[in-house]
C-alpha cells in the first residue's frame, strides 16, 4: 500500500555509483534486504541463548539472521541483523485539509535484533495535496518512552512543512498516529519478544 503513493522525493542512482561504493567498502557488505514482512512462525527460529543443546548446528556455520536495512531520514539506513516481530498500519483521512482526499498513512514495525534488542521503525507518509513530506524513523527502543518518542517523531505533525504557511496550532485535524492504534503497545510487544526468546 505504501508503494502506491506518488513520491514526494525521487532519487536515481547509476550502477557506477553502486560499484564505486562496493569498491570503497573496507569489507564486502552483506546483501542487505529490505525489511521483510512478518515471518512464517514455523520458519522463524531465533537462536537460543545459553549452552548449546546437543545436536545444535555448529554456530560457526549456522546461517545468521537476515540483514535488515531500514530507511532513516537524514542518514544512511539503519542496519542490523534480526527478525520482524510485528507491524501495524493505518490510513487515516486528514479532516479539514483543502482536499478531502488528503490522508496520512502510518506504519510501525518492531524487530528483534540478533543482539536481543528491540528495533522499531515508524513511518508517516502523506498522500494527496498536502504540504508535507514522508517521515521515516528507526532505532533501538529500550523502554515504552523510547517507543513513544520514536512514534511521536514520525507523527503526522512531523510530516507537515510549516514553512508552507500552516500556522501552529495546525489547521488540520490530524490523527494521532500509530500510538492510537490497537495492539501497538510496547508492553504487549516486549511480552511477545520474551515469549519468542
Amino acid at each position: 500500500m505504501l508503494d502506491t503513493f506518488a513520491p514526494r522525493c525521487e532519487a536515481t542512482v547509476s550502477p557506477e555509483l553502486i560499484r564505486l561504493m562496493r569498491g570503497f567498502a573496507a569489507a564486502p557488505a552483506p546483501a542487505a534486504a529490505e525489511a521483510p514482512g512478518l515471518p512464517d512462525p514455523a520458519a522463524a527460529t531465533p537462536p537460543r541463548s545459553g549452552p548449546e543443546a546437543p545436536g545444535d548446528p555448529d554456530p560457526t556455520t549456522a546461517p545468521r539472521w537476515p540483514q535488515i536495512a531500514l530507511r532513516v531520514d537524514g542518514a544512511r539506513p539503519f542496519r542490523f541483523r534480526g527478525l520482524p516481530l510485528c507491524e501495524t498500519e493505518a490510513d487515516q483521512p486528514v479532516a479539514g485539509a483543502p482536499d478531502g482526499q488528503a490522508r496520512m498513512v502510518h506504519r510501525a514495525r518492531l524487530f528483534l535484533s540478533e543482539d536481543g534488542d528491540v528495533i522499531a521503525q515508524a513511518i508517516c507518509r502523506p498522500e494527496g495535496p498536502l504540504p508535507a513530506h514522508p517521515v521515516h524513523r528507526a532505532g533501538p527502543v529500550f523502554s515504552r518512552d523510547d517507543l513513544d518518542l520514536l512514534l511521536a517523531e514520525a507523527g503526522p505533525r512531523a510530516c507537515l512543512d510549516l514553512s508552507a504557511g500552516i500556522a501552529a496550532p495546525p489547521l488540520f485535524d490530524l490523527p494521532d498516529g500509530p500510538t492510537a492504534l490497537p495492539g501497538l503497545t510496547l508492553p504487549d510487544r516486549l511480552s511477545q519478544k520474551e515469549e519468542i526468546r
Binding site: P7, R8, C9, E10, A11, T12, V13, S14, P15, E16, L17, I18, R19, L20, M21, R22, F24, A31, A32, A33, E34, A69, R71, V72, D73, G74, A75, R76, P77, P129, L130, P131, A132, H133, P134, V135, H136, A158, L160, D161, L162, S163, A164, A168
Partner: protein
Amino acid sequence: MINFPMPAADQTNPAPAAEAQSMSAVGAYRFPRPGQRPLVFTGTLLAMAMSFTPEVPYWYEINIFRTETQEFALVLKLFFQSEAEDDYSKAWSFESIEALFDALETYDAAEDIRVPLGPTDGAPPAELAAMAYEMKARVAAQRAHWASLIGELFDELEAAGQAMG
C-alpha cells in the same frame, strides 16, 4: 534563475533504465558557488535526487558526480516556486564518495533559510516572540524536508545495490 548544464537531470520523467544509462555520459559542468569561484569539472552524473512537492514553495535537487580527476562533486540546488525568489546552488568537491555522503548527512539545511530583514526596533515583545517562533518553525521544517530527501537518496542507493545483487 540559474542555468545548469544538466542534460541527464533535465529530462522529464525518463524511464529509470534510460536515465541510469544517460548518467554514464561524460559532460562538462560549471556550477556557480556563493562566495567562491565556480566549481568546474568534467565528469559523469552518478546520482540525483529531488524533493519537489507542489504544495511546498521550495524544493531541493541534489546531484552527485564523479570527475575525471577521480574526485566526487556534490551539487545542491535550491529552487523556489515563486519567481520573486532567486534559485541558487552550492557545490563541493570531495576525495571520496564516503566523505561526500558524510557531508550529506551533516549538512544543515537551516543555512538555506532566508531571513527577511525588516525593522525590529521598537517592535513589541509579542511581535518579536512571534517572529522567533516562526523562524524556529521554518528551521525545523527546512531540516525535516532535507532529511526526508536524504533518506530517499540513501534508500534508493540501498535498493539499487540489492537490484545489482
